[in-house]
Amino acid sequence: MRRWLFLSLVLLLIAGVTALGEVKNPGTLVFLWTSDLRTMDPAYVASTPGSYAPFNLYDRLLNYKGESIDEFIPGIASVVPSVENALITQAPDGRVFYTFPIQEGVYCHQVGVRAADGSIEWKYYDELSAAERKNIVPGFGEITAGDVKYSLMRAMLLGFSWMANAITAMMTGNDYPDVEAMALALSGAENLDDVDDATLIQVHDILSEKIVVKDNTVEIVLDKPFPATLGILALPFGASILDKEWAVAQGAWPGTADTWIDYFKPTLEENPLFSVENGSGPFMLEEWNRPEKKAVFKRFAGYFREPAKLERVVLRSVTEWTTRLLQLEAGDADVIATPVEFLDEVEAMEGVQVLRGLPMVSTTNTFFLWPVRNSGNAALGSGKLDGEGIPPDFFADIDVRKGFCYSMDYGVLIEQIHLGNTLQARGPTVKGIMGYREDSPVYSYDPEKAAEHFKKAYNGELWEKGFKLTGYYIAGITTWQSALQVLQQNLAMINPKFKIDIQGVQWSAFSDLLWGGDEPGAALIVCNWGPDYSDPGGPLGAASYYLDVNGAVAGFAGDGYRQLITEKFQPLLDQAWAMVDPAQREPIYAQLQAMSHEYATTLFMWQDYTYVVARDWVKGYTHNAITYGAWYFYPISKEE
């Protein structure tokens, strides 16, 4: 009897498998990654994985055109402003006007419908009957110029994401990095708590004056040119457009000058738009199972363009590689995150496509930091130039930096570690960004030149005594570890007294080394940084990240680095940014690129890249380097 029961159960299961195995859902894309969405609020997003939600659920004034990082197509704006179509103009006083005509009939996923009792109910646009659509309250879920202004203002005044803060920098001509800095500067206070109400209102009003709503157009008025304006407005972060009426109904900032401070920089849980969305994008949020790290996007049939081809997108975090691989093989997953070392294996699988070497605009480099905090710092060894350590300002000597640059074998990095998938980085700007030239000077592996510089460093003392230091990378990133190992071996070959200990640390410890004190805690680290628009200047440009005294690298590389940047690079950087004509600016950025080589500011290694592993029935993926390969699911389809 028991045996019969057992056999019946097994047969039932197998029958179920056979029946269910045939069920295919070509309309659903299953995307397995190791990341996670952070919030649904575009103004809060500050990372590439986090951008998947606003990218697909919301729309922006403009979108990037295909693979291009400096051309745009209309989004909510019906036309891309340009000098030629007179939607970008400059007044004699230097002010620049960008005019965005807004598309008519752009509805959000939820719209406000007048109920019989006169109240307004928020309902899904797709579920409305024809009669109910006639009762949509104007402006409630229909994108207007006012919504554009509200969205941009809210992103700036929320002040949380550096990405949204870039809009503030843009509106203020790069005078202020964010509203907090603006309020402090205008009031002279040291803390935001001490800023008086009048100044807070002034901050709002100054920004508000920059965004002028006329009928159904939005005009952005900048006091001086800001070349990255369109690039910032096309990014899938803070520039995504919300419906004001819906946002206010959820408890978000009501749009008044005297209340923004109450909504400034909320924690994730305090933000009323944290887990809800009402964009006008091609997909709607159907489910966000946060504990299980799963999100389901459903097609928005009422999208103002053609509806998306996919019916659903399922984003799931599956951390175990074999589990992802088996699901791809079985066809249960359509796209999977893949460690670089398994690319050859998956490429050999039947029915799987691998798109390799997709460029990104960031570079991975070995950074020199000086001076480094000295007391009890294991990264410095003895803390002296005695062969068992290094002094805190070890990299202040340009010959040390150049010696390191000549000691790296770039051929090994590109051909052996990255299997030829990428290029050697030539400096802060990468291929495709202004200032990048194929013939700019780069370092190559040259032990003799390295030795020459090391012999000159510290008046020959370094060559005699040697050094010992610790190089850090984020644990688990094997390519960064390999780069340090190449450097370690080459240095030891140049002079056996040159020793590097390599240490992988968790992100928390790594960030502590960089920002945990007044001075950095490490002298040598491997990390990657990249810009967020194609212009090399401005708050988030490639050259600024590396060579601006307020940029990301200067933020952690120590006072010595900052001093070098201030003296040699900042004047040129400011000069280029103040110019309007790209033809005049390009040579300056090219010069900055060459100077970063001349001063060996950083050991530039490789241009970052990504790749896609998907079933071959997945069609329509377009890679854009500026969005770091984030998937825009609108053009994607599954075709057998």
Partner: protein, 345 residues
């Protein structure tokens, strides 16, 4: 007995307070910048530079003195929640509640083969002492013990899903997820299998069962070793007792001797081990959950620890401590019930 239960429960708050104080003190050994990693989990988040970073540290109060930060967390508890988990993106209590059914379902269905299989195998091994069956059972269970969970789990996944496509990872197939999320499917317990039965939905029941098979087999196999060995040795010891010899001398059938006289008494040590295994399973099984893409409490706790999500770690520690106390209490009560010689008090 009631006095015994009350006495055990009175100690619970003390245990919990010492536990959270210890964990909280440990996290405070990290610098504010290290603890900021929870809120800024990659270099992307820190592009805003030093001023931005300082403002984040202020925002989350990471520079506040110990007593302020500890008081803040105690405040959450007093208000009835356990703080906010950045890992789960929701209040810790809600996250624990949301993941508990998955863990409970896995533990429940894993314990059935673990206990029944161990009793059966242990009995067989003891009654066939030093014969082929005994040796086979010992080899079989020692193999299970020796197999690292991730190796065994991956192996069965590759065979039964990769090659045969029988038993997929996850908790449900995509079509079943949609069915379960639909308005026509009532969620009673959050356990898919039980809810499918209560809804009378055979398709979801089968699908849920298919997804449970591999993690259950993995957990059963790796847990059998200790249980079988204890059952075997306990059974061997019992079979040598005078009352068993007496029963045999009276001509009682061997099957009756083994089942009624020996096995019931041999179960006492197994009860204790079962309690430990239940607690271990209810605390979540990180490796099994990771391999089989099964989102339960184990993965949540491991992720929280890796991300320095201390509210979640503290919340989970509280849950686990309470669980342990109650399971131990239950085992003691069960012990007293099974063995009339044991007196609680």
């Amino acid at each position: 007995m009631l006095a015994y239960i009350v006495r055990r429960l009175v100690f619970l708050p003390v245990v919990l307070f010492v536990l959270i104080l210890m964990i909280f003190s440990l996290q405070m050994l990290l610098t504010p910048m290290q603890r900021l990693a929870l809120y800024a989990p990659s270099p992307d988040y820190l592009k805003g530079g030093q001023t931005f970073i300082d403002s984040l540290i202020d925002l989350y109060g990471l520079n506040d003195p110990f007593h302020i930060q500890f008081g803040r967390w105690i405040g959450y508890i007093v208000r009835g929640n356990l703080g906010w988990s950045q890992t789960a993106r929701m209040p810790v209590g809600t996250a624990l509640g949301a993941l508990f059914p998955a863990t409970a379902e896995l533990a429940l269905f894993a314990m059935i083969p673990v206990v029944l299989g161990a009793i059966w195998l242990g009995t067989k091994a003891a009654t066939h002492h030093d014969r082929l069956v005994d040796h086979s059972v010992r080899v079989f269970t020692i193999l299970g013990w020796s197999f690292p969970t991730f190796v065994f789990g991956l192996l069965v996944l590759m065979i039964f899903y990769g090659s045969l496509r029988w038993f997929p990872p996850g908790r449900l197939s995509q079509w079943a997820v949609l069915e379960v999320s639909s308005a026509s499917f009532q969620r009673y317990t959050g356990m898919n299998l039980i809810d499918a039965i209560l809804n009378g939905n055979g398709r979801v029941l089968l699908d849920s069962l298919r997804h449970l098979v591999l993690p259950v087999i993995t957990l059963a196999y790796v847990n059998w070793a200790s249980m079988v060995r204890i059952m075997r040795s306990s059974m061997l010891e019992t079979l040598q007792q005078d009352y068993v010899t007496t029963a045999r001398a009276k001509g009682v059938k061997e099957r009756v001797v083994e089942n009624r006289h020996a096995r019931r008494n041999a179960l006492l040590p197994v009860t204790t081990v079962s309690g430990i295994i239940v607690a271990y399973l209810m605390g979540g099984v990180v490796i099994t959950e990771t391999i089989f893409d099964y989102h339960g409490l184990g993965r949540f706790a491991a992720n929280a620890a890796a991300n320095l999500d201390f509210p979640a770690v503290l919340g989970f520690a509280l849950y686990f401590a309470v669980l342990l106390v109650f399971i131990n209490l239950l085992v003691d009560l069960l012990y007293a019930y099974l063995d009339p010689r044991v007196k609680l008090g």
